[in-house]
């Protein structure tokens, strides 16, 4: 009797397993590739809902206005879905998303932006969780490093598909290093090259910093050569600071970690190198920094990865072919160990508006466009600004042709250390407090220790205003997702 019961139970278990697997397989749209499944998914959706000439709209970062339309035309050809675009500068889009949260117009179906809008937009109910659609479309994220991949999720759900490995990197002038190699080695005991630490980068910046009119290493400098340049203005500092922090910005209970010896060290290192940068750097964004780098008036540049391509391809550039790409240097982080952290400073991706009429149809577009084949095609697009982010980029000829092999190798190595910026609600406000205080230190108005205190106070105030309990939950979830690589210290 017992045996019969056991056999029956096993049989039932097998039947349920086979049936559920078959059901799940039936739910998945047909197609060998991610892109095929997305196309078939879109077609099936259109048929099921009997849509005639379906039209959707994408809220697009204007930087992609020249590169995106080609793929939208292709999508229409493949599925019959017209995808219009509404373009704004990336600084304007968060406000548009929040306005959509209030107005619920459904005017945009797809939203193109950085992952940092996710927490606020999810809180406001503007973003559609994609997990149910993913079960049908089976996207493939293999070859994407954990820090980048974690940005796609928030509080355990997926909201964003990545297509841009925009983590910061360091670029050095290879021609100047070659000329100065002997002298540098005599002084520092090693040839100049990618610095291992931030301190070494500053040492190099100091060494290569050259006044106008000087002749060094057989080179006459008609213009000053600044030892370094990097993003140090409001709205940009926060994107770089985590590289100096080398650890989590909050503990397990959302207590800021910046007001600590490690935090103060990070502020000091972040601000100290400014003396080797152009004096205007505190007012500069990309439109000023990129041309300045291309003009050959700086020795090193910590930047978005596209700086290298810009300086190589821009016809006015004086440093084409004279750059060495390096991963972000290491710092002695909170754990006391040397760690490299490359903040994903921008990095665009695609989301679905929950107020749109056909969010599932919008989803199929983003699965198709960010898929391994189509996504790699976009990354290789000469008109595009999508940076390498998948392991497959290392062997993709078109990607290598566009970005150069040394750069792709470096950026994929750097991606191992790529971390997200703050993935919690109110992140822009947290960032602003940090930026303001960094600016004050750089202007010599306050000390690093005072800035650390101010930031701690400001961040606590924001946490309390939004709701400490909710913020702790979101913060713990984002740390657990691996978005920052670092985990809470055991003592926490």
């Amino acid at each position: 009797m017992k045996r019969i019961f056991l056999a029956t139970m096993i049989l039932m278990g097998i039947t349920i397993f086979v049936a559920s697997t078959a059901m799940a397989a039936m739910m998945v749209h047909p197609g060998k590739t991610v892109e095929e499944r997305a196309i078939n998914g879109a077609k099936a959706y259109i048929k099921k809902h009997n849509l005639k000439n379906p039209t959707q709209t994408m809220l697009l970062i204007s930087l992609f206005k020249n590169s995106q339309p080609k793929y939208l035309r292709e999508w229409k050809k493949l599925t019959g879905v017209t995808m219009k675009t509404i373009q704004y500068g990336y600084t304007d889009i968060p406000a548009k998303i929040m306005a959509e949260a209030v107005a619920k117009t459904g005017q945009y179906d797809v939203i193109n932006h950085f992952p940092y809008v996710i927490p606020d937009a999810v809180g406001a109910g503007t973003l559609q969780p994609l997990d149910a659609y993913m079960a049908k479309g089976k996207p493939d994220f293999t070859g994407i490093d954990s820090g980048l991949l974690a940005q796609q999720t928030y509080k355990g759900k997926t909201y964003w598909f990545i297509l841009d490995g925009d983590h910061i990197a360091l670029f050095l002038r290879s021609d100047i290093m070659k000329a100065a190699a002997k002298d540098y080695k005599a002084k520092f005991g090693k040839e100049p090259g990618c610095p291992d630490t931030m301190a070494e980068w500053e040492q190099m910046a100091k060494y290569f910093h050259t006044k106008k009119g000087e002749t060094r290493w057989g080179m006459k400098f008609d213009q000053p050569l600044y030892g370094a340049q990097a993003y140090r203005s409001i709205n940009f500092s926060y994107r770089h600071f985590p590289a100096y922090m080398g650890g989590l910005l909050f503990d397990k209970n959302m207590k800021p970690t910046i007001n600590s010896p490690n935090g103060i060290r990070a502020i000091k290192e972040f601000t100290s190198i400014v003396k080797y940068m152009p004096p205007d750097v505190q007012g500069w964004g990309t439109p000023q920094l990129y041309p300045h780098w291309g003009s050959g008036r700086a020795f090193s540049f910590m930047s978005f990865p596209s700086a290298m391509g810009y300086a190589n391809r821009n016809p006015k550039s004086k440093i084409s072919g004279k750059q060495l790409a390096c991963p972000v240097p290491a710092v002695k982080g909170a754990s006391g160990k040397m760690v490299r952290r490359a903040p994903q400073a921008a990095g665009t991706g695609y989301m679905v508006n929950s107020h749109g009429k056909h969010p599932e149809l919008a989803y199929y577009f983003i699965q198709w466009f960010t898929g391994p084949t189509k996504g790699d095609e976009a990354i290789a697009d000469p008109a595009g600004f999508w940076d390498p982010m998948r392991a497959s980029n290392l062997t993709n000829k078109a990607v290598l042709d566009k970005h150069t092999e040394p750069f792709v190798k470096m950026t994929m190595k750097n991606a191992k250390n790529a971390i997200s910026l703050l993935m919690i609600e109110g992140n822009y406000e947290y960032f602003n407090v940090l930026d303001k205080n960094m600016a004050q230190v750089m202007q010599g108005n306050i000390s690093a220790a005072q800035a650390a205190k101010n930031v701690e106070k400001g961040w606590n105030r924001i946490t309390d205003d939004i709701g400490r309990k909710e913020q702790i939950a979101a913060w713990r979830a984002s740390v657990a997702s691996g978005a920052y690589i670092d985990k809470f210290a055991p003592t926490n």
Binding site: A95, P119, D280, V281, G426, A439
Partner: protein, 316 residues
């Protein structure tokens, strides 16, 4: 059926043709416009200012927060810094605009050859769209740009670095914004003063001349007192606008370097559109309305007083 409709139409036209209804229609229209455009948004803003609501949570989750948003605003250090900066920008810019506008009007109110062309040229800056003006100035102010090129003989002679960092030095950036504002809005004060000069009664000037008054005495004892209402109008109009300074701060420096050019309007924009703090923003804007309103009404009170003094003196 048709008869009933005709009857209805007749009674409607009879009702509309009444004198009291005719007088009531514009009143209703004004009231409706007032309600729609001013009262409703104002009441809504007050309502939102009493809630705890960030746009990163649905409005349905907002709850009554009493006056805590007002307390929050008043205890936020950045609010006071931004307010102080705004008064500094507005005060300095308006003062310079009054001075230059007055001087230009003094030069242009007399008849001379080509006067109309000069007046037209002086008025052009006011007609330039502020965004365009802002972008132009952002190019003029580049450290290797035209302004520093023009100033270089003077700066070099004074031993100052000719590459003045107009947009990246905290103090220079503040002056860059003030000067751009002065360039654009001196036209308005010029126009106001020009109309003030044109309205000066010629017989008073002639009488003073006959009595032996010199030019300075005529200006100081007759023209200037008569121009006081025009000055007050210029002060009020320009102050109202200058206290809302936003476009130049965004276009030239985006509030930086640091926060050195963050005005109160910029501060509010950040709080609402970047940080999603709608109820905080609403409370701050209500507070500002009362602060600025008190100032403007005080200005209007001074204007009315000046006018009555001028009228009394001209009656004597």
């Amino acid at each position: 059926m048709a008869q009933a409709t005709i009857k209805e139409r007749k009674s409607l036209s009879a009702w509309l043709s009444q004198e009291k209804v005719f007088r009531l229609i514009p009143f209703i229209m004004v009231e409706a416009t007032f309600l729609l455009l001013l009262a409703v948004p104002f009441i809504l803003t007050i309502y939102i200012s009493l809630l705890k609501w960030r746009a990163n949570r649905p409005f349905e989750q907002a709850y009554f927060h009493g006056l805590l948003n007002y307390v929050r605003v008043l205890t936020t250090e950045d609010f006071w810094w931004a307010l102080g900066r705004t008064f500094y920008f507005a005060g300095t810019a308006v003062l310079l605009e009054l001075l230059f506008g007055f001087l230009l009007a003094m030069l242009a109110y007399r008849q001379f050859r080509g006067r109309r062309i000069y007046i037209t040229i002086f008025l052009v800056p006011m007609m330039v769209v502020p965004v365009v003006g802002g972008y132009n100035f952002s190019m003029i102010y580049i450290d290797s740009g035209p302004l520093n090129q023009i100033l270089s003989p003077i700066t070099e002679a004074m031993g100052i670095n000719p590459r003045i960092r107009w947009l990246s030095h905290p103090i220079a950036a503040q002056w860059a914004i003030i000067l751009a504002d002065v360039w654009q809005w001196t036209s308005l004060t010029f126009l106001i003063f020009l109309s003030g000069f044109a309205a000066l009664p010629q017989q008073l000037t002639n009488a003073a001349r006959v009595l032996g008054a010199n030019r300075w005495q005529i200006f100081w004892k007759i023209h200037f007192p008569l121009l006081k209402p025009a000055i007050m109008i210029a002060v009020i109009i320009r102050s109202m606008e200058a206290l809302k300074l936003f476009d130049l701060s965004v276009l030239l420096t985006f509030g930086g370097p640091g926060t050195s050019t963050e005005t109160i309007a910029f501060f509010l924009w950040r709080q609402v559109w970047q940080f999603n703090k709608y109820s905080f923003g609403a409370a701050a804007s209500i507070l500002l309305l009362f602060m600025f309103g008190a100032l403007i009404f005080y200005g209007i009170y001074l204007l009315v007083r000046e006018r009555s003094i001028v009228e009394e003196e001209s009656m004597r």
